[in-house]
């Protein structure tokens, strides 16, 4: 199985990254210029005008002629766009450490974000990769002396990190591109670079395509489904949905537990590669899965399609945040700002296969038709309260082990 390479062979990254860096610098100048208070040049100009006026006035007064002072109602002189250095941090000789997933996520950052960020700041970037849970627990263990500067994880994990004081609130002035990001992607302590949908993936050739979460219990699919593992990030959300479809609710998950226990999954998965061989052999026909991973399965030669269930798919977004206590907050904010730049976000999502969070980011031609824009799917996905999910996860995991996993054994 292989994956299609994007980016590096399609265009000159050097020129592209420089263009992005210059665009970011210009946008930051506009932010500085339109912000409160005069620039240094204006202050000096004012001093010069004031001193000249004072001298002229004195001279004229000595000559018996009243001098003139600047008309306060006159329009301010136009500001130069090639003004003094902006607040883009100087990363020369410095290295920013970023915690993120490996695989497609890492590759997308390497191909889309790193070139622009490096061109902008001159900083190097080091990655710390691993699963979301592992990296969260590592950050927790390092509380007070973190080894990473930017923490990228699921919204729930980043929420927990904030609750534990591991990440800080974003300084919005340092991330001007936040203004272009959809509200669904923004938290006080972080911002998402894209939106994913967790719905149903079905292999080609199904006599009756799936369209609902209830289809997992169809008689023709008995023993032919894969299910997310008990510890999967979306397990509590799936449990909530199934509970609601069977007379329960988020506060009453017993119906959902009982219904899930009726299934007989062929395999439990945490990643598409866990069930891809079974999909290829025909042992698995349907599975709950992320839409971006289904696109990746297509690249790998598997004929699998993604379906938004009629009851809505589960929204999942990966969040970027600045680690508390890092000595490189300036670079961390600049990194996030760079990642959210419209062109960078578009390029990133063309590699990652997710929906961009920047509303001005285009869906590039190479992924058109395969990756949706946010405006096309926001009404097809359901967002869950991350605080509630984080609070319920430990107990629900224990209950799923007790009722569901024991039935699936």
């Amino acid at each position: 199985m292989g994956r299609q390479q994007h980016g590096s062979d399609d265009f000159d990254l050097t020129g592209w990254s420089e263009d992005i860096a210059n665009d970011i610098r210009r946008s930051r100048r506009r932010v500085v210029e339109t912000g409160a208070g005069p620039s240094r040049r204006d202050f000096l100009r004012s001093l010069g005008v004031g001193a000249g006026t004072l001298a002229a006035g004195s001279l004229l007064a000595a000559c018996g002629i009243r001098g003139s002072s600047p008309d306060p109602s006159a329009e301010a002189p136009p500001r130069l766009t090639d003004a003094a250095p902006t607040d883009v941090p100087d990363g020369s000789g410095r290295t920013l450490s970023v915690s993120l997933w490996g695989g497609e996520t890492e590759r997308a950052f390497v191909e889309a974000v790193i070139p622009a960020f490096t061109a902008l700041t001159g900083s190097k970037v080091a990655f710390e990769t691993g699963s979301g849970g592992e990296r969260f627990n590592k950050l927790l263990a390092q509380k007070g002396s973190p080894t990473v500067d930017v923490f990228i994880n699921s919204a729930e994990n980043v929420y927990q990190a904030k609750a534990q004081g591991l990440v800080q609130d974003l300084e919005t002035a340092r991330v001007p591109t936040l203004s272009e990001v959809g509200d669904w992607a923004k938290w006080p302590y972080g911002v998402s670079y894209g939106l994913l949908a967790f719905g149903l993936a079905g292999v080609a050739g199904l006599e009756q395509p799936v369209s609902s979460w209830n289809d997992l219990w169809r008689p023709d699919l008995v023993g032919k489904i894969a299910m997310p593992g008990i510890g999967h990030t979306q397990s509590p959300q799936v449990l909530t949905v199934i509970s609601e479809l069977n007379g329960g609710s988020i506060d009453d998950i017993e119906p959902g537990l009982a219904k899930l226990a009726e299934l007989d999954p062929a395999v439990l998965h945490f990643f598409w590669t866990n069930w891809a061989p079974q999909a290829e052999s025909g042992d698995v026909l349907v599975s709950p899965e992320f839409n971006y991973q289904v696109v990746g399965m297509g690249d790998a030669g598997l004929d699998v399609s993604f379906v938004f269930p009629e009851e809505k798919a589960i929204a999942a977004d990966n969040t970027m945040s600045v680690v508390a206590g890092t000595g490189r907050e300036d670079l961390a904010h600049a990194f996030i700002d760079t990642a959210l730049h419209a062109d960078v976000n578009a390029r990133f999502c063309s590699v990652w296969y997710g929906t961009p969070s920047n509303e001005n980011a285009a869906i590039l031609p190479e992924i058109e038709g395969r990756v949706p824009a946010a405006v096309d799917i926001l009404d097809k996905v359901r967002f869950f309260d991350v605080e509630m999910m984080a609070a319920k996860r430990p107990l629900w995991t224990q209950q799923m082990n007790q009722v569901v996993a024991s039935a699936w054994a």
Binding site: L268, S281, Q398, A405
Partner: protein, 307 residues
């Protein structure tokens, strides 16, 4: 005419304790004058300190879920009262004992055959290398291989289900079962047994075996009454090593056992990933206690049977 007694091949027991020098009794410390004390202190700290930290965490409030009422020994109580976790504890012991016993038995037979073969064919190092190749490849590679073999319709799947059919058991999935997990573990442990037993069995003098056969003992009784007693220390060491490794195996349990067959290692991983670090700490302590108990119990049993 008698059989020549073996010399350096026959292990002699060492005398431990005080040595008498010229009428005075002294304790030999070691050439450095410090002995192994500093190393023991360092090793002890490296082992004891993490366990103490985990133990403290296991009885603390869950910092990720302060509303959780579990505190004190309640994390341990859950492990022993919840049927799924009790089953995980029992499964850990069962899989460890079975895989250790089978790998030692098979490993012993393999080494015996290899030793006899090597005496006729000296250039058989390649066979030893191939035998220990799973160790060199690492657990990930071997486990992924088994996942492929155990997939529906593949060789491993058909072989296991053939055996199930012959035993009157229900045929079906092999991945994410205890059987698949045990087979993968045995495959990984056999090389360890081979590496442990090979030098010991090679050291057994062939004249001893010939003498036994000449005196009328059948081959199987020769193995049982001559070979096994001579390599008993090696068998004990191999058993302890495989038992400890089986109890602490994660990759094998994660991919071949899955969440439908939780053992203590995969339970720790699941708890860590679901915002239950205090539960994970309690499970880790239990794993240490269980592994230590298995090893200690086996050692006592072996010493008793030897005595």
């Amino acid at each position: 005419m008698g059989v020549a007694a073996p010399d350096s091949d026959f292990p002699r027991p060492r005398r431990m304790g005080l040595r008498r020098r010229g009428g005075r009794v002294g304790i030999t410390i070691g050439a450095s004058g410090f002995g192994a004390f500093p190393m023991m202190v360092g090793l002890g700290a490296a082992v004891v300190v993490p366990i103490v930290i985990l133990a403290r965490q296991s009885v603390a409030v869950n910092p990720l879920n302060p509303t959780d009422s579990a505190i004190g020994l309640s994390n341990y109580a859950v492990l022993f009262t919840a049927p799924i976790y009790r089953e995980a504890i029992i499964r850990t012991g069962r899989v460890s004992l079975v895989s250790s016993a089978v790998s030692v038995a098979f490993g012993f037979l393999i080494v015996l055959a290899l030793t006899m073969y090597r005496r006729r064919e000296p250039r058989s190092s390649l066979h030893v290398f191939l035998l220990v190749a799973p160790l060199l490849a690492g657990p990930i590679v071997t486990v992924m291989g088994w996942v492929g073999l155990f997939s529906s319709g593949q060789l491993g799947y058909r072989a296991v289900n053939l055996a199930r059919g012959m035993l009157g058991l229900e045929i079906g999935r092999v991945v994410e079962t205890e059987v698949g997990m045990t087979i993968g573990l045995i495959h990984f442990l056999i090389p360890l047994v081979v590496l442990t037993l090979y030098p010991i069995i090679r050291g057994i003098s062939p004249e001893l075996l010939e003498a036994s056969l000449v005196l009328g003992e059948p081959p199987l009784r020769t193995i049982g009454r001559v070979v096994i007693p001579l390599c008993r220390p090696g068998l004990m060491a191999a058993s302890v090593i495989t038992l400890a490794m089986a109890a602490s195996a994660f990759v094998n349990a994660r991919f071949l056992g899955g969440e439908r067959n939780l053992v203590l290692t995969t339970l720790v991983n699941q708890q860590m990933n679901t915002f239950d670090p205090t539960g994970a700490a309690a499970t880790s302590i239990l794993l240490v206690v269980l592994g230590s108990s298995l090893v200690t119990g086996y050692g006592l049993l072996a010493a008793r049977t030897e005595g």
